[in-house]
Symmetry: C2
Subunit: 556 residues, 2 copies
Amino acid sequence: MINETISRRQFLHRLGALGGAGITLGAMEALGLSACDSTQVDYRAPSPEDFSPKDGAGVSVLILGAGIAGLTSAYELEKGGYHCQLLEARARPGGRNWTARRGTSETALDGSMQACQFDEGLYMNVGPTRFPQHHTTLNYCRELKIPVHVFGNQNADAYYYVEGAGPPSTKRIRFRAVQADSLGHITELLAKAVNQGTLDQDLSAADKETLIEFLRSLGALTPQNRYQGSPARGYRAGAAPGAALQSGTIDTPLALSDLLALNTTGGAFNLGYFLAFQYEWEQAMPMFEPDGGIDAIPRALVRAIRGPIRYGVQVTHIENTANGVRVSYQDQRGQSGQIKADYCICTIPPQVLRRIPNNFSAQVNADLSVPIPINAGKMGLQFKRRFWEEDDRIFGGITMTNLDILQILYPSHGYLGQKGVLIGYYNYTPTADTFGALTPQQREQHALNQGSKIHGSAYRKEFETSFSNDWRKTRFSEGSWINWPPGTRGGPGTPYARLLEPAGRVYFSGDYLSYAIAWQHGAFESARKVVMDLHARVRASQPLQSNGTTASRRHP
Amino acid sequence: MINETISRRQFLHRLGALGGAGITLGAMEALGLSACDSTQVDYRAPSPEDFSPKDGAGVSVLILGAGIAGLTSAYELEKGGYHCQLLEARARPGGRNWTARRGTSETALDGSMQACQFDEGLYMNVGPTRFPQHHTTLNYCRELKIPVHVFGNQNADAYYYVEGAGPPSTKRIRFRAVQADSLGHITELLAKAVNQGTLDQDLSAADKETLIEFLRSLGALTPQNRYQGSPARGYRAGAAPGAALQSGTIDTPLALSDLLALNTTGGAFNLGYFLAFQYEWEQAMPMFEPDGGIDAIPRALVRAIRGPIRYGVQVTHIENTANGVRVSYQDQRGQSGQIKADYCICTIPPQVLRRIPNNFSAQVNADLSVPIPINAGKMGLQFKRRFWEEDDRIFGGITMTNLDILQILYPSHGYLGQKGVLIGYYNYTPTADTFGALTPQQREQHALNQGSKIHGSAYRKEFETSFSNDWRKTRFSEGSWINWPPGTRGGPGTPYARLLEPAGRVYFSGDYLSYAIAWQHGAFESARKVVMDLHARVRASQPLQSNGTTASRRHP
């Protein structure tokens, strides 16, 4: 760990003085500044002093795409004195980071048009909507002063609703009940096995005793190691603990075989997945979202970037030239043009990029065709009354189901208000494609039908308006994220590894070049990695001056 | 369920017209309006139309104590036209609902004085600080338009730190790691037992197969049903999934016997308790707190109440008279006086009330001596840097330890800000009394010493100022809450049940007369119960008019 009495800048300078630019960059990497390490103590974004002296002065970088990766690239490079400009095909920044609200309209690739009719102040995040506390996304929220609040990724009182899975089917069950019954039955069974001596080879006598005690606490077992329900599973309707003699009546637990029937519904939303979801690295609470919509992030980046961002500009050709790059484009009025720069960072998704003419090698073009675009669909439903809060006492969180809406996400903002927008479905390949094939009106009816199974008549009665999106049909995205087929992502020789290297002076960046695909973290981290790679190359090409710093000059 | 096409008011009127006031009240209870049922669909607070016609017009109620129970009593009774006034011994409303901020000062019963020096905008909730979504507290936040946000009662990345518990001792371990390892080992052991046929009497062949699959998901077991760690437990420092080739390196799990050693630390903060806490009826996420401090609740109630609230007034005598109640008091200037009213609701804690002269029966006085006051202590520590967020990436939540600070609660507000106040200890009888015996300065040093074991040198380096409270030494409270000794709370004939009945015209109210002791919910619910009891008595004493409504007249 770096000695706290010298500053980061001093430290880098000392190393630079000893060994030149290469070592400085190496030291920066060692300090965790290049690829932000989310569990490391020092997890700041590169700050101006990390690019010192301003080695990028005079170096121009053209960035294709103003999503998270593109905006972050510009934001970080400008700290180092680079001259950046961005081309964005859409009329807005953010890419898949997109908040729909009154005034949002979108024409899908199939020509269907939607205009969002939510009330003023209501919104839905169409793409990413949450991030865990260890993601770099939160660092940028700090640095860019974006206020955040807790995203309810988990709610003990949200429902689990399945069909075709034995006795518990078509009954909405509170998450807490399923969870308490699962732990109760498991701990009871294990206590029984331990007491029968089955596991004596694995457990010392002392461990056995401690284990039984532990299981009793965890599963809320009786002193006889039986599970008979517990307050953790919740109380009967109308019989929670209250005043006077209302001591509370616990409901009867699900029988073990009924509980296990919940694990046979197939697909991702099996009982085991349902319970394990809350513990996942990227899903465990707390999670966060920006106040007012996820697009607070790209909007803050745009405000912080000095270089120009041109919207409505589609790239038509990408070329490496002898001393730089040349990108051809067509703007909204159909006029074409060219931009030259020293370097290019291309954040266009591979499934779109591979159709854009270029002079990359055949290998690069082949590699860009490897990732398989995945689909996801989401619908925001505006209700005139927050019945899930008022009637069901669910404040944020997720109801999961094996219906093809897959999940209902209750809003984590506007609590106790009058109206609200919840996510009526959020599903993935292949179900998302089935929804995507429907018209927006058909999707709405389908979502209302299935949601009504869980929430009853209020779901139709209080409904006002919807907005939906299918990412595969979304222009300039053509997918929600990508999958790397088995064996294509990893060490040297894989298509993934090859795309981590620049094609000439063109660097590729995006969440698809990370191990955090579908998370903004992946885009941030990929951008930071590419920025440091590019910076290292620029430094390496500059002569070292006698004082240990490098001269700033027109590159190359 | 009431037919949605007639209003609640119409429904009550119809019943009233048929059967008189008694039935109307019964119907209100049947509708869940008297004792608010937290899991019931209709969980509104009584609204003005629930007291219709205004039977309380002209009836005076003197309320002793302006804590949650007292304020709620006045607020609800005024909806029915009752004339309320409140006497409060403190200079502020709220009782144990108390937020300390710059300007707060307190002299303890032992004469020690503290003045809170937190920066403007920073605060600590000295008493209650959170409530689950099913508590009535949240209803009042809605009704009184008190904005709330999520209280982080749980955090996968907070620490578990123990001493004297084998190999994992004195190492701070992330909650997620302990949890993943616990589930991993338990599911592995159970899968093994199941496959050995030990539990064949309990499980059908099909259930066995499903159970194994379920255990594999829940515990993140290998296809061979072994636990070898998982992403859920987190990654090595500096090796979380990121860009390029950073795929993430999972750390080695705790061995089963080491994990079990964590369950032998004794006391409430054993491993089993630590894991089960997150599932509890009253502790499962999400939980909430008002924006800006818990005292937003009493302040909103005070704004909504029309009747006078007199502060700094101590009750010296409570008497039932022939037609009402007479309460003697002494004000801040030492001047004494008397107030007469038709009824009294007394919310003074039993351990204080039992010393106030009265003409209650000997039985009532004996019953008031039964509850045993418990102690709790808390300290807010202001730090000039939110190192728990910046260095440890912990945003809200609770670190638990078997050190006598017991827990550190990270603030659930002001995320990403510069400074913050965390709760440096929150402990209970008997540890709280040990802390309470120290001077505020000694408590501060003790809290800093123990917190430094978990958070290292930052804990002293960034520290600025503290404020602490010991509830047993707090005037007018003399305890954090009470316990009913075994057998004294329950059905007819118990001291608890007798205190649910009024002593003449004096009704007792407070969380101590509920099954939600130590929660604001208990105080709200107790107040609502007493309000409805009093209202029923008033209605029963009024003659029924020919139109089925009761006459409003001076009572009695």
